[in-house]
Amino acid sequence: MANLKRIIRGELWYVLFLIPGLALFTLAVLVPLGMGVGYSMTSWDGLSPSAKYIGWSNYTRALADSDLWSALWNTFKYAIVITILVNVIALLLALLLDSYLKFKNVFRTVFFLPGVISIVLSGFIWKYNYAIGIPNLFSYFGVELTSPLGDPDYALLGLIIIAVWQGIGSPMIIYIAGLQGVPGELLESARIDGANTTRTFWHITLPLIAPSITINMLLVLTGALKVFDLVYVTTQGGPAFSTEVITTYIFKISFSSFQAGYGTALSMIFFLILVIVTVVQISIFRRREVDL
């Protein structure tokens, strides 16, 4: 008992250092989340001072909302393609730039640069590229091209190209760091044992950089699922709903249709989906990791 008291007196004041961070987290994350849960149970229009409580009906409505499901389908299509493309390309670039290449620092900078530009800006740049730049360039060779963003069949692909161009920088850096952590003696002994480059890569390099793969997969997938700015500045969900993702759908419901209550309920559902995706993904990839 006295022991416990001594521990409390001696150690508890450390807790004080947590308070500022904790207060900030509470004010900026927990309180708005709680308020969001409250608003999601109302039919608030987003502006009027009072909101009417309507219970769970926003949530039951969401389940039957076919537009929501098609928006979710678009979101996952976009996110999964991006996760695969970004990781494969970033890993290939990392392998290339980790080898003994002349000017490798220059190349690293070049590939990392698009990531420094804000997404909004790159959206505008590419909108211009697609509509004017690239068609003009190709018209010199007699090829007629039109912007993919104007065609419902290609608009999502157009967005994916922008996102990949913009997003490979930081995963590439993480992979390079991971590759530099692979001990040279393991690779050397594998080579002495007669393993060729492909086998060394599959059986030694890849398992050893598994933590980098986990973190990159996680960051890119959750980032892509939450995409809003890129879609909003380039297509606003169009043409013909082909790039309507969950965030732009929530935005339209809340601000164009004046249904902030329903929009908040959708945000809550989306939050749950994100949590589930993250937990599942971590548990799958963690299993593949190897401790050195």
Partner: protein, 438 residues
């Protein structure tokens, strides 16, 4: 001892943080009564008062600033903090600010549904009977009433019509079309001559939205004779399927799309203004706002272009000039400087303010007796201004808050790419209305 010192320091830091937060929220939410007279007094005593002014004429940021500068030189005791916001984001930002307790003293609004929403929320100061309202035509002031009271002051208005390239028209021997069919026939001729008939710019949502937001209500109210269609749509009394005009508009949309610039949904507003200024496109449905841009890019076209009312039907008598109120001004009911804000409105309602507006933002002012000579092309519309052959299709939408146009745009895009038939579009619209508005 040392430990408790540290502890005290932590507590102090924490308290500082909390008081900072507290103080902030206090000033935000408190349009407190004891502050209001202070603001009023300050205005009288010659101390500087700052009012915030948020507007959506961001294309004319410099022009608006010039008007405000003139106001500031005449009222040295008032400083105006101008916040221009792009129209697409304007209402989102304004609503967020209002709902969050931020006070914007003076701001622009569109008469009709948007204003009604702010009136219902109690955010607008009642301006009924204020002396500066007498500078406007009574009919205009009346038409902008909400629930029988004036919460907004009309500012500027725009004709929305079709610009045309006079050179292309005369080369091909085309008369200015007065009916819809004549316009399409003219467009076919232009296409046969290898030029672009319509500069559409439908990459941006608002260009297509502006067109369907006028073609559909005009045809609904004036051709199909259902002036209260959109009110009833919101209450669920009618469906799009009951309205023959929706088929007309879909048909029109298909024809315009087929006769539009290449890559119709890939080129935006700026792109088509370029196209028109280069002399490659014959017609462009637009308000007066690209005029300054066209003048800068190609003065030859600017001096040799015309403007005719968009013929939404085949009945010449119905095809009057679309003339829409653009921005109106409102004062926040929570403003602490209402006196200064009213001075600003009074300035904007004066002949001087109106003329400055015409000169700087290329738009027509509602103030009586102001200049109408804003560009050579607009002079083509003089007969309509003089005879009063004008109408405002937006009054048929004034009592609704339902945002059908965004939804119709996307469904039309499906149609353009053969992903839906006409009937499916109408069906999709009715399903959407049913789901979103009980």
């Amino acid at each position: 001892m040392k430990k408790s010192n540290k502890l005290g320091l932590c507590l102090l830091a924490l308290m500082l943080m909390l008081t900072a937060c507290g103080g902030n929220s206090g000033t935000q939410t408190g349009g407190t009564p004891d502050n209001t007279p202070q603001g009023g007094k300050a205005a009288g005593n010659g101390e500087k008062v700052t009012i915030s002014f948020m507007h959506f004429k961001s294309d004319f940021t410099d022009g608006m600033n010039k008007i405000v500068e003139q106001f500031e030189t005449e009222n040295p005791d008032i400083k105006v903090d101008v916040q221009p916001v792009k129209y697409d984001d304007y209402y989102t930002l304004l609503k967020t600010k209002m709902a969050g307790g931020d006070v914007v003293d003076v701001f622009t609004l569109n008469a009709g549904a948007q204003t009604k929403l702010f009136v219902d929320g109690g955010y607008l100061e009642d301006l009924s009977g204020k002396p500066f309202l007498s500078n406007f035509e009574q009919s205009v002031v009346d038409s902008q009433k909400t629930d029988g009271k004036n919460y907004i002051m009309p500012m500027n208005a725009n004709p929305i019509a079709v610009f045309y390239n006079k050179q292309i028209f005369s080369e091909l021997g085309i008369e200015v079309p007065r009916t819809y069919d004549a316009m399409i026939a003219a467009a076919e001729k232009v296409k046969a001559a290898g030029k672009t008939p319509f500069a559409l710019g439908w990459k941006d949502g608002w260009t297509l939205g502006m067109w369907i937001g006028r073609d559909l209500p005009s045809n609904t109210a004036l051709v199909a004779n259902q002036p209260d269609f959109f009110e009833k749509l919101e209450t669920g009394e009618v469906k799009f399927a009951d309205n023959p005009a929706i088929k007309t508009t879909i048909q029109h949309a298909k024809e315009l799309f087929a006769l539009g610039n290449k890559d119709q949904l890939g080129v935006d507003y700026n792109g088509v203004v370029d196209l028109f200024a280069k002399g490659e496109a014959a017609m462009m449905y637009m308000g007066t706002w690209p005029l300054a841009d066209i003048q800068k890019k190609n003065p030859d076209i600017y001096n040799n272009m015309g403007y005719f009312p968009y013929p939404f039907s085949n009945d010449e008598k119905l095809n009057k000039l679309e003339f829409n109120p653009d921005a109106s001004l409102a004062i926040s009911s929570k403003s602490q400087h209402k006196e200064a804000a009213e001075k600003f409105l009074a300035f904007m309602a004066s002949k001087e303010g109106g003329d400055l507006l015409v000169k700087n933002i290329n738009s027509l002012s509602y103030v009586k007796g102001t200049d109408t000579n804003i560009a050579p092309a607009v002079n083509d519309l003089k007969p309509y201004f003089d005879s009063g052959d004008m109408y405002d299709s937006q009054v048929y939408l004034a009592k609704t808050t339902i945002d059908w146009s965004g939804q119709l745009i996307q469904n039309l895009q499906k149609l353009f790419f053969n992903k839906a038939t006409e009937d499916e579009v109408i069906q999709a619209m009715d399903n959407w209305v049913q789901k979103n508005h009980k």
